[in-house]
Amino acid sequence: MSQTSTAPAPTGSSAPTPRRGERARRVPNWAPWAAFAGAAVVVGALWPLLDLNIALFVLYTVVLGTLAVYLLTRSVEGSRQAIDRLVTCLVVSAFGLAMVPLVSLVWEVVSRGIGRLDGTFFNSSLVGIVGEGGGAYHAIMGTLIITALTTLISVPIGLMTAVFLVEYARGRLKRAITFLVDVMTGIPSIVAGLFAYALFAIFLGPGVRLGIMGAIALSVLMIPVVVRSAEEVLKLVPNELREASYALGVPKWRTIVKVVIPTAIAGLGTGVTLAIARVVGETAPLLITLGITTATNLNAFDGRMATLPVYAYYQLTQPGVPPQFATDRAWTAALVLIILVMGLNVVARLISRFFAPKSGR
């Protein structure tokens, strides 16, 4: 088998299914495609009879095509090959099925949100707006401020924890922290919000709403993500680099700061960017810690702030009397949010591509 598996990629996919040379009867390669095309024609012909819509059409075509492929293969090549083909059809359909939500969601958000994606949306708030017009300037600024604060809190703590886990920790404390970071990854976002609320309500009294509360709630969600990704990346730094540095008499902390972290900087940047992307769309914790306003509030330590996800939520659920305008704003806010998150994902990938260490691996 070694000559067929020169590529590091899984050979199962590139190697053809084992074919017995002596078996003469084989289904030609184009037959499955033909079966599906035939199924589409048949179902299409029955369209008026069955009162179909596009979803049912695709469904019936896939079912009929799969069945045809199965029976054809079974009669020509036998049941083992037939089951193999059947599973192939199922697996491909599963992937196709998973693409339905993605495509329909993006299409829906773009087509409904593009209408209000104008200058007004980005440079005016909702003060005094009833019905048409208005924008999300205050919410966008709020999201940027809260996200910046969250990053400011989470990255140092997360990074230092990862350094501690990789470079210093031993034994029980290390196991405990690793385990609890895993547990923290599973904290529901709404619970993080309740925590921040409870923390501030005890000291400042009930009903308190502050920007910093939201940042703390999001930090609870972001820190474990940063720790996990940073830990993975720091572990990848070759030990030889550390040892070379120690051999030159460099103290351990300078080794970490000057050798380990610069080597891993691309991965760290990617991890942090993905962590930001993860929290920037969080709605629930901000809903209960920040509330919503119509005016611009840039001070995270003074009263309610609007953020983009919460803004979208309230515009949708409490649209006001002619609901159309608020609903449009909600969709545009959702579109901006998606663009923001996707943009951060792209940036993360670019970081890992362009800042990767130029090692001779």
């Binding site: 083992r80 703590i157 922290i177 904290i187 009930p206 550390r242 939520y313």
Partner: protein
């Protein structure tokens, strides 16, 4: 990691003679950050408990619904579990199939790009899923629910009457399924890619078809990873808030009827819906329900880890 230190670091600060102050400060900071994690987690539990105590001790008639905390939280716990289980049942087989497709069926060149497409599903904020669920998915499912009621109405799950808006428990479960699909499939994909190529090649060399190879070599090896991924997905689904809050039409009460418009809410969605307009003891009640959610997700996550660790010994990987 370093090979220069052989003694554990705990007594290092006091006993080690040659230790530069910079080292001590840096090590202390790092250790402090690690310990801060423990403090934060303890803080989450502690502050939730402190704020939940008034609700736990309050007389039954002060709690919303006027019949005590337990009967307030019970339907919410039921709804949470029901929605999460639907999501899990739908998402797991689909996620495994997608992982197999990307790992073993898709053309090699395209596989990475297709995997990225699935990962994109994880990047979409949950509120946007809520928008999509209520405006796109729910109306499209209405005819399907009517069909279910007509043809499968004898099963209590589909007893109906079918909701005319489509904002049912089943819809919420399906939205959750889409949301946890990427994490389950990402983890499955990772374990499937770790299957030793010798196992796969041995199966193929014995004349196995591709599916037989997957059944004999890949699935047994990856089982623990799939279960772990599914449990992580379950944890996600349990705590998912905004999508459910927007999609689900709530009327309280425990019911297994998945397609009617009367559904129990979930803990997280209930908090999101009620919290902004609540005050006084109501807030404490919501925090108490949040504490219940915290405990449930904690238990699920720990169980997931236990399963993964136990299965790892028997997977034949080593």
């Amino acid at each position: 990691m370093s090979s220069t230190r052989t003694t554990p670091p705990s007594p290092a600060g006091t006993r080690r003679s040659v230790r530069r102050p910079g080292d001590r400060v840096f090590a202390g900071t790092a250790k402090g950050a690690g310990i801060l994690i423990l403090v934060i987690l303890a803080g989450v539990a502690a502050f939730l408990v402190v704020e939940a105590v008034p609700a736990l001790t309050a007389p039954a008639e002060d709690i919303p619904g006027e019949s005590g905390l337990a009967s307030y939280v019970a339907p919410l716990v039921f709804g949470t579990l029901l929605a999460a289980v639907i999501a899990l049942l739908v998402a797991t087989p689909l996620a495994v199939a997608i992982a197999l497709f990307i790992g073993y069926y898709a053309p090699r060149r395209m596989a990475q790009g297709l995997g990225y497409l699935v990962d994109l599903l994880a990047a979409i904020p949950s509120i946007v899923y809520g928008f999509w669920g209520i405006f796109w998915l729910a109306p499209k499912l209405v005819p399907f629910y009517e069909w279910l009621e007509r043809n499968l109405g004898f099963i209590p799950l589909f007893a109906g009457p079918a909701s005319t808006t489509g904002r049912t428990m089943l819809t919420a479960g399906l939205v959750l399924a889409v949301m946890i699909l990427p994490i389950v499939s990402a983890i499955s994909r990772e374990v499937f890619l770790q299957v030793p190529s010798l196992h796969r090649e041995a199966a193929l060399a014995l004349g196995a078809t591709r599916w037989e190879m997957i059944r004999m070599a890949v699935l047994p090896y990856g089982r623990s990873g799939v279960i772990g991924g599914a449990m992580l997905g379950l944890g996600r689904a349990l705590g998912e808030t905004m999508a459910v809050a927007i999609v689900l039409s709530v009327s309280g009460g425990i019911t297994f009827n998945l397609i009617s418009s009367g559904n129990p809410s979930t803990i997280a969605a209930n908090i999101a819906l009620e919290f902004p307009e609540s005050s006084g003891i109501d807030i404490n009640t919501l925090i108490a329900s949040g504490l219940a959610l915290f405990v449930i997700t904690l238990a699920v996550n720990m169980l997931a880890r236990a399963i993964v660790n136990r299965r790892a010994d028997f997977s034949g990987a080593n």
